[in-house]
């Protein structure tokens, strides 16, 4: 095994201690450093669906400036994203696609359910809309509003940052099943939202 280059070889600690080093450093617990960096470069996947997507883009625009949180980089590929902002109503046809995108995201990953349609179906309590995206993917933060203004989205994001900073760094989603409120949509002819979900 090749010998790794070390800063100062073991056993040869300079007599003046660490003061002799010619660069700055900080000491911290690894959890805090990892969580800090994750929270501050949480890249969202573009998952704009409906009205909320417009407000999500507005939040990324000049006036609200998501870049303050290191989050203006909306990634087109789920492989490069940490956060899925489900912005808008999720239809029965979109549900499998949404789950697939979620599965393609690398751990650790988080989900914000933006707006009432994504959170609970909103005013569209009918055959076409999944009554809450939490039936398909586990949701960390729900942002209320129809649509939530950019301020509400930012509040959700800051809340999520709090969750990330206090979270376990080795946390993985324990199962592919969504948590949610445990409400499954029974369709008229036995077509359920879960039936259409592409599972692993």
């Amino acid at each position: 095994m090749a010998k790794l280059p070390l800063i100062g070889e073991v056993g040869r600690v300079p007599e003046e201690g660490l003061a002799g080093l010619d660069h700055n450093f900080l000491t911290a617990r690894i959890e805090e450093v990892v969580n800090w960096s994750r929270a501050r470069s949480c890249w969202p996947a573009t998952f704009g669906l409906a009205c909320c997507a417009i407000e999500m883009m507005a939040a990324g625009g000049a006036h609200y400036d998501l870049a303050r949180y290191g989050m203006e980089v909306f990634r087109a590929s789920p492989r490069q994203a940490d956060l899925m902002i489900v912005a808008g109503r999720v239809s029965q046809k979109m549900a499998p696609v949404l789950r697939q995108i979620y599965d393609q995201m690398a751990e650790p990953k988080w989900v914000i359910s933006m707006g009432v349609c994504a959170s609970s179906g909103g005013m569209f309590n009918n055959y076409a809309i999944v009554q809450g995206v939490d039936q398909i993917v586990p949701v960390d933060v729900y942002a209320p509003g129809c649509p939530p203004g950019p301020e509400t989205l930012m509040h959700a994001i800051v809340t999520l940052h709090g969750l990330i900073e206090n979270g376990e760094i080795t946390r993985r989603r324990d199962s592919s099943e969504a948590g949610g409120a445990g409400i499954m949509v029974e369709q008229r002819d036995g077509q359920t939202a879960s039936k259409m979900v592409i599972t692993k």
Binding site: T46, F47, G48, L49, A50, C51, A53, I54, E55, M57, A58, G60, G61, A62, H63, F74, A76, P78, G88, R89, S91, Q92, K93, M94, V97, I101, M123, F124, N125, N126, Y127, A128, I129, C146, P147, G149
Partner: protein
């Protein structure tokens, strides 16, 4: 002689869109497409089926395209829609006419006020009532402001799709200015539920004139920045000119409306040609293109912002006084102040908001010129307080059909420019 008559002979040829076989439309179901993957390609057959969307940054939401490609060239394609199907027409049947505007406003979320307007006009046609003059002019004012914000949204997303990211930042910044005004007038940035059957929800707030003047003074210079940034820029022109060409005959055959139709030089705008509200009392130009390409559509939308500003200034001067909603006891709830004094007013208010008002039996269609084309609303009433059938004719839904024809034999990179220039709003496509 109108331009429509003058253009008559120069419409072009629509045989391309009439072909059943050998058409650029890929008529293939998902099952067939999936089965295709198992069949090994014949030797020498270099065609492949590429899926684009529904989760794609340049498909304006959840549009999905099946593209048959030969290397980088698109041969046939099929837009697959329905990923945002919300069942709004079904939900609309369970909501009263007062609640209905809340439902339809969420269809075309870039220009929500037009949905409300079309819906309200259809209901008013059924009721056979005329809204007061001030309500008409407020509706016009809001429509034109909404047209501005919608076209600014187009400039932002179009720029983003083309890789001109600064256009996006400029577009959103300007859009915020109009949204702030919307928020002041209607209480919401989007999905206002402001235009309702019988008038509008509330009168214009104090100081609206100053705010509006500030906007109309500031916007023109800022809109000019798009010209500076984009219009003359060689890369921008190279990217858009000559891409996605469509002629007038094809537009008519496919039912295309709005800037798409006008980009071909076909002079048709419902506001001028079949005036509704008070559009016959104001002056404005209908902008047309020449070549029917993406650049023309970009230029038309940019200039329509200026034209709408011109309209807003006229409306500002001509805004009449009076009531902002019809004083018809059947349709309008009593004023808030009277509810505190009169038991009857309270009951009346309660009944209107719980049961809703009844609309006489019949059917009617009303259409407005939304930023994307003809937005129609067809309502069938059975005499009850809820529509028996509510149908919205979304311009984006029909306009999307042109994609395969525009994309045939273009490069994959141009598909993004073409989708963007059609400016579909998927909420309206799928409803």
């Amino acid at each position: 002689m109108t331009a429509v008559e003058a253009i008559g002979s120069s419409l072009g040829d629509d045989s391309a869109v009439r072909r059943r076989d050998d058409s650029p439309v890929l008529r293939m179901s998902e099952t067939e497409a999936a089965a295709l993957g198992d069949v090994p390609a014949e030797h020498g057959d270099t065609r492949m089926l590429v899926n684009m969307g529904p989760q794609h940054p340049s498909t304006h939401g959840v549009l999905r395209l099946m593209l048959e490609m030969e290397a980088e060239t698109v041969l046939r394609s099929k837009p697959v829609v329905g990923y945002l199907h919300t069942g709004m027409e079904k939900t609309g049947e369970t909501l009263t006419y007062l609640q209905g505007a809340t439902n339809v406003t969420r269809m075309d979320y870039a220009s929500p006020l037009f949905n409300e307007l079309a819906f309200s006009m259809a209901v008013e046609t059924l009721l056979e009532i005329d809204v007061p003059e001030r309500a008409v002019w407020i509706r016009m004012l809001m429509s034109e402001l909404n047209r501005i914000s919608s076209h600014l949204l187009f400039q932002a997303t179009n720029g983003l799709d083309m890789g001109a990211v600064s256009a996006m930042i400029y577009g959103w910044r300007l859009r915020e200015d109009t949204l702030r005004l919307f928020e002041k007038i209607t209480g919401l940035r989007m999905n206002h539920n402001y235009i309702r059957p019988g008038g509008v929800a509330a009168d214009l707030p104090d100081g609206w004139r100053d705010d509006l003047l500030r906007l109309t003074d500031a916007l023109p210079d800022k809109v000019d920045e798009f010209d500076t940034l984009l219009t003359g820029q060689p890369i921008w022109r190279e990217r858009l000119q000559g891409v996605g060409i469509v002629n007038a005959a094809e537009c008519l055959a496919l039912g295309l409306t709005g800037p798409l139709l006008r980009s071909t030089g076909y002079d048709w705008d419902l506001r001028r040609d079949m005036p509704y509200l008070a559009y016959d009392e104001v002056e404005f130009d209908v902008l047309v293109g020449t070549y029917g390409d993406c650049f023309d559509r970009y230029a038309i939308r940019l200039n329509e912002i200026r034209e709408s500003l011109h309209l807003v200034r006229q409306i500002l001067d001509k805004m009449p006084g009076g009531d902002y909603r019809i004083q018809d006891k059947k349709v309008t709830p009593p004023p808030r102040a009277r509810i505190d004094q009169s038991m009857e007013a309270l009951i009346h208010h309660f009944k209107i908001f719980t049961e809703g008002f009844k609309v006489p039996e019949g059917e009617a269609y009303a259409a407005v010129e939304s930023p994307r084309g003809e937005l129609g609303c067809y309502i069938v009433s059975d005499g009850g307080p809820k529509p028996y059938r509510l149908h919205m004719r979304g311009p984006s839904f029909v306009n999307l059909q042109v994609l395969p024809h525009m994309m045939a034999n273009t490069l994959l990179a141009d598909t993004v420019a073409i989708i963007s220039s059609v400016d579909p709003i998927m909420g309206e496509v799928d409803r």
